[in-house]
């Protein structure tokens, strides 16, 4: 190094990451130049301050990771597994798997040659009806059946199914969904939750289109409008209610209009996955509500039918019993949002966006104590405000 040491060299020396030869050159220069030495000592003294940072918490136990691996290993068998729980000898399982593979190999070629073009495999639970050309196909027990583009799925109560290899869906009771292919469906009414493996997938609705890029989300057509709730991943939505090209990550777009009662919210537990026997299979760990005021006038977020319903998050058990309520707004919010009363309704300035994230740690699934944390962040404001609530489930 022929040139005199620069600030970057001194920082690297203080961090002790310089190669030996460079370090010697820098050390000699520091010894020879008092001003350089003073500069170096200031850097080294500053870097010592990071020795006193609090230790990081320990990572989650491996058991949590192992559970996630187990879930991931057999996601497609969730419904079918209900009937087959219980320990089995490993050898028996291996023989059964080998027999299935052999059977599959034997049947695959003729089966695929018979299968009409565009046909998809639907692994369904109870309660899902399939209509083809206006005729409802005979109901079956939990099974695998073929569906074709144009088939319409309906159900009276929440029903879960896998559509092809990539799409896991839960159709709410009363919902209607048309299969358009392996990469597209049309939600004609009601609400559906989708969990989609990476790759193109879209949900068309009468009010707009939702494009999916590997995520879990739901689409709601209640009250004649389109709302998207994203559990994880990313969703692009476009339509009359959401505006052109809106893109949300972990967000819900509430269809706000400059009229009272146009905003509505949904309890968090609407996103739960329930199997045909009523067992809750899973709930999202986090949900973000996102609000956007697309108009030119300030807009007040109110509950439906009231003038000043507080904005809160409500936690309920699966049978509707109240677990707790959490006022989610803080008096510290000023930019873009005007707080009318602590824990109460807010006003969005024109063009303002705000997000509200709720985390339940851990997910509510069994009796015990839970902690809920709400994180609140207005647009253009770096601070994240948080509030928490202890919940006890008995």
């Amino acid at each position: 190094m022929a040139r005199p040491p620069r600030h970057a060299d001194l920082v690297a020396r203080a961090l002790d990451v310089l190669p030996d030869a460079e370090r010697r050159v820098v050390d000699r220069a520091i010894e020879a130049d008092p001003s350089l030495r003073e500069h170096y000592e200031a850097i080294a003294g500053h870097l010592l301050r990071y020795d006193h940072l609090p230790p990081a918490p320990p990572p989650p136990p491996f058991a949590h990771l192992a559970e996630a691996l187990d879930r991931e290993a057999a996601p497609d068998l969730r419904i079918l597994r209900l009937a087959g729980r219980g320990a089995r000898p490993r050898r028996g399982l291996a023989w059964a798997a080998a027999a299935l593979v052999a059977l599959g190999v034997a049947l695959w070629a003729p089966w695929t040659s018979r299968r009409p073009s565009g046909e998809l495999q639907l692994v369904q639970g109870l309660g899902l009806r399939v209509a083809r050309d206006g005729v409802t196909l005979p109901a079956r027990a939990p099974t695998v059946r073929a569906v074709r583009p144009g088939d319409v799925l309906t159900c009276e109560r929440p029903a879960e199914a896998r559509l092809g290899p990539r799409v896991h869906l839960v159709l709410d009771g009363g919902g209607t969904l048309r299969v358009d292919g392996g990469e597209a469906v049309t939600l004609l009414s009601g609400r559906a939750f989708f969990e989609v493996a990476p790759g193109a997938f879209r949900v068309d609705t009468p009010y707009g289109r939702v494009r999916v890029l590997g995520t879990a989300f739901d689409v709601d057509l209640r009250e004649g409008s389109l709302a998207v709730a994203v559990a994880h991943g990313r969703v692009d939505a476009a339509g009359t209610e959401v505006g052109p090209g809106a893109s949300w990550r972990k967000g819900r777009l509430a269809p706000l209009q400059d009229a009272p009662g146009s905003w509505f919210r949904r309890p968090q537990l609407d996103l739960e996955l329930v199997d045909p026997t009523g067992v809750v299979l899973g709930r999202p760990l986090a949900l973000v509500l996102a609000f956007h005021n697309p108009g030119n006038l300030p807009l007040t977020l109110d509950g439906p039918g009231t003038s000043r319903t507080p904005v809160w998050v409500r936690f309920e058990t699966a049978d509707g019993a109240l677990l707790g309520e959490l006022p989610v707004l803080s008096a510290n919010v000023t930019k873009g949002l005007e707080l009318l009363e602590p824990g109460g309704a807010v006003t969005l300035a024109p063009g303002a966006r705000a997000e509200l994230a709720v985390r339940i740690l851990p997910p509510i699934g069994s009796p015990g104590a839970y902690r809920c944390e709400a994180l609140y962040r207005p647009q253009d404001q770096p601070a994240v405000l948080s509030s928490s609530l202890a919940i006890e489930v008995r």
Binding site: R49, P59, L65
Partner: protein, 193 residues
């Protein structure tokens, strides 16, 4: 260059993970769970988020293990996955408002050994909180380099690989981070001007 015994052991472990050995994966988690968690806490600043990310990172490691090749250090590979995942997640939470909540120093910020005076304890906690806030105010690029070099103790070459930048850029970013942090923090408490 002589082989690093620790890295050789990591590679042997990783080779077993590649073959689907769950026990080896648990051993890998025992070894690197804490460093990855610490790295993610320093990078993102949110402890609860870091827990989630740590689990996600190791899930990705398990999924990617079949394609792993012993071409570099296992730690570099792990930290690179952690960095990519953390940046993606933080980007989802908007770059302009990272979920960095410096200042909520946990009880662990107070040393358990010895019995410092209450004023000293408070000063240490405040100092740690100030340092965390300053780190949180750094841009993600500068923070990544500073965390890897200063807090994780990696060398220039490994930091360059993880960050995906040349060594010279690592040095200049470390210098920029140091200058920004020093300007933000000022002198340590108790020091005369």
């Amino acid at each position: 260059m002589p082989a690093d015994p620790a890295d050789e052991a990591d590679r042997a472990l990783m080779a077993r993970v590649r073959g689907g050995d769950r026990k080896a994966f648990e051993a890998l988690y025992e070894r690197y769970g804490s460093p990855v968690m610490r790295f993610l806490v320093r990078l993102g600043g949110d402890r609860a988020l870091a827990e989630d990310l740590t689990q996600d990172v190791f899930l990705k490691v398990w999924r990617a293990a079949p394609g792993w090749r012993p071409l570099g250090r296992v730690s570099t590979w792990l930290f690179t996955i952690a960095k990519h995942h953390a940046w993606n997640e933080l980007a989802k939470r908007r770059r302009r408002a990272p979920f960095f909540r410096g200042g909520d120093a946990p009880p662990g910020a107070v040393p358990a050994s010895g019995q410092p005076a209450p004023g000293e304890v408070l000063a240490r906690v405040e100092e740690a909180a100030a340092v965390e806030r300053a780190l949180g105010a750094l841009s993600p690029r500068l923070r990544l380099v500073f965390v890897l070099l200063r807090l994780e103790g990696l060398d220039l070459a490994e930091t360059a690989k993880i960050a995906g930048i040349p060594v010279g850029t690592v040095k200049s970013r470390a210098a920029a981070a140091e200058a920004a942090l020093r300007a933000r923090l000022g002198r340590p408490p108790g020091r005369r001007p």
